[in-house]
């Protein structure tokens, strides 16, 4: 009986014998290790504020800058992962913590990411005086904020949705809470987490570019990276340097797409809870390599052995049945204390904010910023409407042709990942040259990067419409406007809302970098809250930065609550297909 299963165990040396794929895998693995060591050294070089770091426009530096940018991204992703795992676990496990943690997360999601950079950078610099590490941390933190909330929400939702029977099975078979976290909850959450993570990384490229050029009180620090390169190119009005930067980014995202995004998505399939569907992902080449290369197997073998050792070390002492604590009254008292504490804290914070605004900026300024917010709000609404008008018909057209759609989808994912701010200089130089009105022509920049979410979701929504519906429509002779009104628009509505929510969130975020633009020494400015925040950041006026960010967050929050969430509910209740 053991013969059959003994085979893989006994034969492990041959399993680990090098294969052709190792020719690829070995350099990749060791290259990665060396890279991390090098970057570590680079990041912690001594640095005095005020000294400009040498950034060169020579394209030969671009690979190095690219690597630095990518490493920042990876560091942020790692931090986000650790943060979201712990935060979501606590929120899902403790009812009390949940009451506080989840609304906080919801708020944090609405705070514009670039706002975090302006606020936190001084703190990080103080943490590592005389070293570049402070600036690096600030940049990484900004990227972190673009990924962490999203991932945490996804994890929290998955943790809360773990099927009851699986939880019972885990308890019935005596898995400890620690074991069931790693064997049940995390695997269950993995597919959604990976998808969210990959989406976050795609969005993160935008912020990695934006956060490398940090202004601290009239003092700009350029961290070596693609973002700094392009900001230098803007200063020098060097359009060809801009193009080089775009090209480098293109290559980087292509690598990210091939080495990380697609393999991870394919790998996450196996954690999927549902039955095997028809939309199984074809294994990408990189994953095939990881599975075939023996060196990777050697690693996984080591990890298994380690896990084995740990589980042996943690071998449980036979537990005595213990009586569960039955003290409902204590819990109620504790609950009351906790609730009072939370409410008290919130009230205190509110008073603090009120005093701060009153003392530092005055009510008139608040009113002014509110109006600026309205201007940006108008932009966002118009842009989403325009993008919908443009992309809905195109998306439906593509979605009705599944074969075409399969080829187009990866391209759109790629476009969505591409940091749109790299294209800004091209637009801005055109606005300068043709003397266009910045109030109008700067606006499209806000949606440049996020419009793809609308297209992407509309295509997916159209493809999900059962073919039968089209047959019925054809059979009944439903055409033209009636076809849109009764079949397509209701059918794709849920998908469209999902896309539009993402697009609008992204546009609010982008307003900080899109409403003010430079080309050499020309500065273009549109009226809006994004421009206000950017301006105050440049001046290092912290109370006003805080005011701007608070008001902007408030707008985002209200906009989401009053519009998107309702549309979402409508879509959920009435127009879902099932």
């Amino acid at each position: 009986m053991q013969q059959r299963w003994g085979l893989p165990i006994v034969a492990w040396p041959s399993r680990l014998r090098p294969s052709l794929w190792d020719g690829l895998a070995i350099p990749l693995v060791f290259g990665a290790i060396m890279l991390i060591a090098w970057a570590n050294k680079q990041m912690s070089v001594p640095y005095q504020p005020g000294v400009a770091l040498p950034i060169s426009l020579d394209p030969s530096y671009l690979p190095e800058y690219g690597v630095r940018t990518v490493l920042r991204m990876i560091a942020a992703l790692g931090a986000s992962l650790v943060f979201s795992l712990s935060y979501a676990a606590v929120a899902a496990k403790s009812k009390r913590a949940e009451k506080v943690l989840i609304p906080i997360l919801d708020m944090l999601q609405s705070v514009p990411i670039l706002g975090f950079l302006s606020i936190t950078v001084t703190g990080f610099i103080a943490l590592f005086p005389g070293s570049l590490l402070g600036y690096e941390c600030a940049a990484i933190f900004a990227i972190f904020t673009s990924q962490a909330w999203n991932m945490t929400f996804s994890l929290y939702q998955s943790f809360s949705a773990v099927p009851h029977d699986l939880r019972e099975a885990a308890r019935m078979y005596h898995l400890s809470p620690w074991q069931s976290f790693w064997r049940l909850e995390v695997p269950f959450a993995t597919p959604q987490l990976i998808w969210n993570m990959m989406m976050s990384v795609s969005g993160g490229w935008f912020f990695v570019v934006a956060s490398e050029a940090i202004s601290v009180s009239n003092n700009q620090v350029l961290l070596p990276g693609i973002g700094s390169y392009i900001s230098l190119a803007i200063d020098h009005r060097d359009l060809s340097a801009v193009l080089y930067a775009i090209l480098t980014m293109l290559v980087l995202i292509l690598i990210y797409d091939q080495l990380l995004f697609r393999p991870l998505l394919a790998w996450a399939q196996r954690f999927r809870f549902e039955e095997i569907g028809q939309d199984e992902i074809e294994p990408p080449w990189f994953m095939v390599m990881m599975q075939r290369a023996r060196i990777v197997r050697l690693f996984s073998f080591t990890i298994h052995a380690l896990g084995d050792f740990l589980s042996k070390a943690a071998k449980r002492v036979p537990r005595r049945a213990r009586r569960p604590a039955r003290a409902p009254r204590n819990t109620i008292v504790a609950d009351v204390i906790w609730n009072v504490a939370v409410v008290g804290f919130a009230v205190a914070a509110l008073i603090e904010i009120g005093l701060f605004i009153h003392d530092e900026v005055g009510l008139r300024e608040v009113g002014h910023v509110m109006l600026l917010g309205l201007a940006t709000l108008a932009r966002v609404i118009v842009l989403i409407a325009l993008a919908a008008l443009l992309w809905v018909p195109i998306g439906v057209w593509i979605g009705l042709r599944p074969r075409l759609a399969r080829h187009v989808q990866p391209v759109i994912q790629f476009l969505a990942a591409f940091p749109a701010n790299l294209f800004f200089p091209i637009f801005v130089s055109a606005i300068v040259i043709y003397k266009l009105n910045p109030e109008i022509w700067l606006s499209p920049l806000m949606i440049l990067g996020t419009q793809w979410y609308i297209l992407f979701n509309v295509i997916a929504g159209t493809m999900a419409l059962p073919y039968d519906y089209q047959l019925v429509a054809g059979n009944l002779g439903i055409r033209n406007w009636l076809w849109w009104k009764r079949l397509i628009l209701p059918g794709i509505f849920p998908a469209f809302v999902t896309g539009a929510v993402t697009a609008s969130g992204g546009s609010w975020n982008a307003s900080i970098v899109a409403e003010v633009a430079k080309w050499g020494d020309t500065t273009l400015q549109a009226t809006g809250i994004g421009a206000y925040i950017a301006q105050m950041t440049e001046q290092g006026d912290f109370p006003r930065i805080a005011l701007g960010i608070t008001v902007l967050s408030l707008y985002v929050l209200l906009f989401n609550r009053l519009l998107w969430r309702r549309l979402y509910q409508l879509a959920e209740e009435r127009l879902r297909l099932d």
Partner: protein, 435 residues
Amino acid sequence: MDTITNGDLISTAGICKTYQQPDHAGRLVLDHIDFTLKEGEIVAILGKSGSGKSTFLRVVAGLTPPTEGTVTYRGQPVYEPAQGIAMVFQSFALFPWLTVLGNVELGLEALGVPREERRQRAIAAIDLIGLDGFESAYPKELSGGMRQRVGFARALVVNPDVLLLDEPFSALDVLTGETLRGDIEDLWVERRIPTKGIIFVSHNIDEAVAMSDRIIVFGSDPGCIRSEIQVPLARPRDWSTPAFRRIVDEVYTLLTTVPGRETTRRGSRVDQLSMQYRLPDASIQQLVGLLDALTIEPFNGRADLPHLADNENLATDDLMVLIEALQLLGFAQVGGGDIEVTPVGRTFVDADLLRRKQLFAESMMRNIAFIAHIRRILDERPGHSAPEGRFLGELEDHLSEEEAQRVLETVINWGRYAELFAYDYDRGVLSLENP
């Protein structure tokens, strides 16, 4: 090992379970259950949905603490899942990201069994349950029957004293379920598993009679032990013997009579069902179809229940729901394992579509207090409409949120059919308007 006990594996004393609902009074789901599982015994627990039989099994398993009373396993109180008790779930509850082998090994891994031993034991269990060759398959590659075999292997690999089976075959088709059940029975009879006792929750009567030494019938609202039936048949059991059929008939009768109505005759039924009665979620189409079938050949108005189930190709639990509904409406009555169409039922069958709706409406107003109550409120209200939330709230005083939702859905369905009231989904409003 068993020298310290008197042969009782599991015993429960005065088990009560109350679910605390937000904004509502506690809802009693289990009412003073005293139960004993002796060594060498298979006990089946039968009852319709909502009788708390699954909750009871979870209390025994140590997954849910009872509000009152105690569970002991070999004399030791059970407060959390005890070693020596294993459970098989209706939904299999396999970890989809682990292979068959990984799933079976999981329990051993949690106990800290060394890798080699764990693999050996897992493979032995897999072989025992007839899954050889599927060790490296993922659950989603397997059919339902194969998956439940993994569920059994996972339970058996820890060498449990007591096996708790929560409707283990009800998610499988009849043939697959029967094969697996037979295999488990064989393992038990041939003593190839170390298990000393099995508690087995089911709603399939044939299955329960075939498998168990004793059947406990649970009553509903709140769950309680209504009766106990011994099954003194030799194994292997022949389903067609009169002794077997007699027990099946007996259980059918017990399960299909609505409590307090065993002897009702037309005319004596003046008392309506209480407001909180858990309406069975029977579909109108099936109700009418069954009633039609009952009045024609071969039944001509009277049918043996197991025979009817066979003939109409209905699972016992589905049939039970329909029969309960027919009884509630006064269209049929049950006695001695038989169902008989009442005169009202006959009138209904003979009527045309419009008249049927009227008869249905009259019958509901007469027999189902909650529906009469809804209609009364709608009549009295100035706008002749009321939000569904109000009625849902009333139901939630007695039922779980989920159950209340289900009952209200049934009420709306029946009410719409009988045109007693209209319902607007978008606004969530019940009204007397004609749409």
